[in-house]
Symmetry: C2
Subunit: 239 residues, 2 copies
Amino acid sequence: MRENIYLQIYNEYSNQIHSGQLLPGTKLPSESELAEAYNTSRETVRKALNLLFREGYINKIKGRGSFVLDMTRMDFPVTGLISFKEMADTLGAPSRTLVEETVLEPAGAALARQLQIPLDTPVWKVIRAREIEEERIILDKDFFRSDIVPFLSAEIAEGSIYEYLEVKLGLKISYAKKLISVEPSTEEDHRLLDLKKYTHIVVVRNYVYLENTVLFQYTESRHRLDKFQFVDFARRVRR
Amino acid sequence: MRENIYLQIYNEYSNQIHSGQLLPGTKLPSESELAEAYNTSRETVRKALNLLFREGYINKIKGRGSFVLDMTRMDFPVTGLISFKEMADTLGAPSRTLVEETVLEPAGAALARQLQIPLDTPVWKVIRAREIEEERIILDKDFFRSDIVPFLSAEIAEGSIYEYLEVKLGLKISYAKKLISVEPSTEEDHRLLDLKKYTHIVVVRNYVYLENTVLFQYTESRHRLDKFQFVDFARRVRR
DNA sequence: TAGTGGTCTAGACCACTCA
DNA sequence: GAGTGGTCTAGACCACTAC
């Protein structure tokens, strides 16, 4: 059960940076020194450092060295949607997930198009409202192809669906595409959320693909305007 | 003036995929075959393929090979904000950039905090409204540290500021962080944009850092709700 | 000039997929 | 068992930074 060397180096440094043991501006040992210290080759060290670089932990400057970046200024997560759990944790506020619906039903026209499947193909539908501080502010509508996810339940939906898919079902998720826009709120939004006066809602459409490039999940995450936040971190790409 | 081998391979394949010469599902030659074809080593080929993989051009599956992904389903750009120019191009609609202001002025309290500089430090401010189909729908407010960007003008602001910074001034941009949220629209928004009835506006805050980790630019891009769109593409990370 | 990261090589062994 | 991508090695030369 030996871990890859480069992942080991990556994990050690990311943890140290994350925990504050390595302060921003600190210069890391040179690649040659690290190779010697970890008793490995320089290319393997570079693999680890490039991961740290891409994820925003360090900066690499030719001729100078690698330096720890200030991630506290970045307020985590470095990239992606502020998840429901993180938002609740940050606020230190009481939070709940309310499973409204978990049913297997034939896909309608709109959904069939989103999931790129024939009309009326059976699809698992999971609808959950997210509540923070007694207010329902996010509506998550998940749809799964039933030929790939044969079974779901309210119990699974209350926990982590992803752990179920990856660990229990062994599905290999390869990539996902998010599409963010703002749209007029629907009657359903008003029924299931505490929308207050807001006439519009932030819609995050998420398309999840397996390793074999099959689109198996479509998720619509609908956020009340005032509680929405998204963070994106990008390294400059040369070309 | 020899281009890196791995970038050459990357460019050839990304162009072929982009232009449709290589159809989705096509299997690329194996890494060993590519190494021989390009008269290089396998590790160099892998560098090119991993770039293609990270950018969503191909899928790599252990034991099977590398396959072209369907990027048309992703509607470009694969990631990031739909830029003003792309939006205009997609719509095939007439568009304009209206430079409202280009001045050097001392930073107020809010801006000094955003740029992490002392109060009243001189800062270049550029305000531009973006018009598509006769409607002003985006307000871009750019702020640059004047010790790093000593001069700006309305002429530069009308063209590409980034080309000016990178080519003319030789600034090395390292990374940027975006923060997206929705906020009540201000009096300035209403004055400079055609906001219609909308009471809220999508705010994209962009923090741009140089290679030496100095934050030198802060941009606020304010989008009318109904015209905003953001796309995010993410590979699944193992850990 | 010494030290750094960026590119590249020519091998090697492994884990996985598929016929 | 043949072929594939994933990891790793022990070198090499180069471009850039700093002193």
